[in-house]
C-alpha cells in the first residue's frame, strides 16, 4: 500500500508492506537510525518519536496507520546545522553515557515542552517515565530538560 505523511517537515510518499512497523519504516526505508529498538513491546521508550505532536512508541505502530500523520524523529530536531537546546543540554549535563536511550528520551522531553513551557521536575519525571536509561541515573536527564525549558523560554 502507498502512504503519504510528513516526516521531519517534509512530505513523503512511499510504497510499503502494511505490516511494517513505523520503527522499521524509519530505520530501514528512510535510513533514520537515530530511533532505536530496545524491547519491541512498548516498555523501554528507545523507539519514541513524535506523531501528531505526541510522544509515541514507534515499535507499537504499523506503517499502515501513519497515512496523513506528522512524524518527527531525533533527526528532525536540529535546524540549520544547529542542535536543538535539548540536544545541547543533554551533552552539557552529562545526560548521555552510552546514548542508546537518548533519542527516545529527547523526543519524550520535546513532546513535554510542546505542551508545557514551564514543567516542574515532577512533570519531567512523568514525561520520561516510559523511557528507560541504564546508565545515567536520570538526574542529569531531568536537569538537562529543565535547563532547556528555561532557555527555550528566553529565546521565544
Amino acid at each position: 500500500m502507498k502512504i503519504n505523511f510528513t516526516l521531519n517537515s517534509q512530505n513523503v510518499s512511499i510504497e510499503i508492506e502494511p505490516n511494517l512497523r513505523l520503527l522499521d519504516l524509519l530505520r530501514d526505508r528512510f535510513n533514520l537510525t537515530g530511533t532505536k529498538e530496545g524491547c519491541s513491546i512498548g516498555e523501554c521508550g528507545a523507539c519514541t518519536v513524535i506523531m501528531n505532536s505526541k510522544a509515541v512508541n514507534s515499535c507499537l505502530i504499523l506503517a499502515g496507520q501513519c497515512n496523513g500523520a506528522e512524524i518527527i524523529t531525533i533527526e528532525g530536531m536540529e535546524s540549520d546545522g544547529k542542535l536543538h537546546p535539548l540536544q545541547e543540554n543533554f551533552l552539557k549535563s552529562g545526560a548521555i553515557q552510552c546514548g542508546f536511550c537518548t533519542p527516545g528520551m529527547i523526543m519524550s522531553a520535546y513532546a513535554l515542552l510542546i505542551e508545557k513551557k514551564n514543567p516542574t521536575d515532577e512533570e519531567i519525571k512523568e514525561a520520561i517515565a516510559g523511557n528507560l536509561c541504564r546508565c545515567t541515573g536520570y538526574k542529569q536527564i531531568i536537569d538537562a530538560v529543565s535547563q532547556s525549558a528555561k532557555e527555550i523560554k528566553i529565546n521565544t
Binding site: 505490516n19 509515541v56 512508541n57 499502515g64 516510559g130
Partner: protein, 290 residues
C-alpha cells in the same frame, strides 16, 4: 512476528460495520495497538489468524465525549491522554480519570484507548473497576443491529467478552453520578510508574447522617476479571460510619474476593492487602464526605 496483513482506515462507524459484515474472525479492529502489536510480536494465540486490521484513527465519532439527558457518552476509541484532559470526565467521573493516569507511560496513554482496555478484557485493565462502579453500559453496533449492554455482562472471563466478530463497541455510556457520592480509586503495582496492576479497587460511597446509604465497590486485577462486589455493597448498606463497621466491610471484601478468585499462591499476600486498601479507601472517603 507481525503477520502479513492488510490495513484499512475507515472514516465512519457505518463503514466499519460494512467491513465487519461477513467477518469470520480474520478481521480485527485496531485502536491504539498497544496490546495487539506486542501480542503479534510474541505470536500470542489471542491474535492468531488475523488478516485484516481496521484502524480507528480517522473515525472522529469514536473519540468524542458528550452529555445528554444525564447520560455521559464516551467514544470507545478515546485515548487515556484525552480522558485525563477532558473537562466533562474530570468533573463527573474523577475515578475514571484517576485510573487513566495510572495506565502505562505517556507514550502508551497517547495511543491506548478506553474501549481497547476492556475489549481485550485483561484482568489488569485499570479503567474497568471505575467504569463498573459508575454503572457503565456499552453500545455495540453491527451492520444489522445495535444493542446496549451492561459492561459487567459484556465481560465474560479473562480475555473473553460477548463481542461477536461482526460487531464494534462504539460508546461507553455512564449515567451522571449523584453529587452525593464521594469516591476513590486505588491501584497497587510493583512500582510507581508504568506498572501493571496487581490490585485495584474503585469505590463510591454515599453517607447520610453518618449512615452508609449506598456503597459501590469494584475490583480489578485481584479478581480474574473486573468485578462489582454486590454482596459487599449490600452488607455495607445501612451501617453506621465507624471504625468497626469499616473493618467489617474490609474483612467481608477480602472473603468475597477469595471466593471469586479461588485460593491462589498469592492469596496469602493479596487478601490482607486488599482488606487494608479497602479500609483505607473507606476512611479516606469518609473524611472527605464530612
Amino acid at each position: 512476528m507481525i503477520p502479513v496483513l492488510e490495513i484499512f482506515q475507515p472514516k465512519s462507524v457505518d463503514e466499519i460495520c460494512r467491513l465487519l459484515k461477513s467477518n469470520n474472525g480474520d478481521t480485527r479492529i485496531i485502536a491504539g495497538g498497544t496490546d495487539i502489536i506486542p501480542g503479534f510480536h510474541i505470536d500470542s494465540p489471542r491474535f492468531a489468524g488475523i488478516k485484516r486490521l481496521l484502524d480507528l484513527q480517522l473515525v472522529d465519532e469514536l473519540k468524542t465525549v458528550s452529555i445528554n439527558h444525564q447520560i455521559i457518552s464516551i467514544g470507545a476509541a478515546i485515548t487515556f491522554s484525552d480522558i485525563i484532559t477532558n473537562p466533562v470526565l474530570n468533573s463527573y467521573l474523577p475515578l475514571l480519570v484517576k485510573s487513566s493516569k495510572t495506565i502505562g507511560s505517556t507514550q502508551i496513554r497517547n495511543r491506548a484507548t478506553l474501549g481497547g482496555n476492556f475489549i481485550n478484557n485483561a484482568p489488569c485493565a485499570d479503567s474497568v473497576a471505575p467504569l463498573l462502579v459508575y454503572d457503565a453500559e456499552i453500545k455495540i453496533k453491527s451492520f444489522t443491529s445495535e444493542k446496549i449492554m451492561k459492561l459487567q455482562d459484556f465481560l465474560v472471563k479473562p480475555y473473553a467478552t460477548r463481542l461477536n466478530p461482526d460487531e464494534i463497541v462504539t460508546k461507553i455510556m455512564v449515567p451522571v453520578p449523584s453529587t452525593d457520592f464521594v469516591g476513590d480509586f486505588y491501584k497497587l503495582g510493583r512500582r510507581r510508574a508504568v506498572s501493571i496492576s496487581r490490585i485495584s479497587l474503585a469505590m463510591l460511597m454515599m453517607n447520610e447522617d453518618k449512615i452508609i446509604k449506598e456503597m459501590r465497590i469494584a475490583s480489578g486485577a485481584v479478581t480474574p476479571i473486573g468485578t462489582r462486589l454486590y454482596d459487599v455493597e449490600e452488607f455495607a448498606k445501612g451501617k453506621v460510619c465507624n471504625e468497626e463497621a469499616f473493618k467489617e466491610i474490609a474483612i467481608k471484601l477480602g472473603e468475597r474476593i477469595l471466593a471469586v478468585s479461588g485460593l491462589r499462591w498469592s492469596s496469602e499476600y493479596k487478601i490482607p492487602v486488599v482488606q487494608q486498601v479497602c479500609y483505607q479507601l473507606i476512611k479516606g472517603i469518609e473524611r472527605r464526605s464530612l
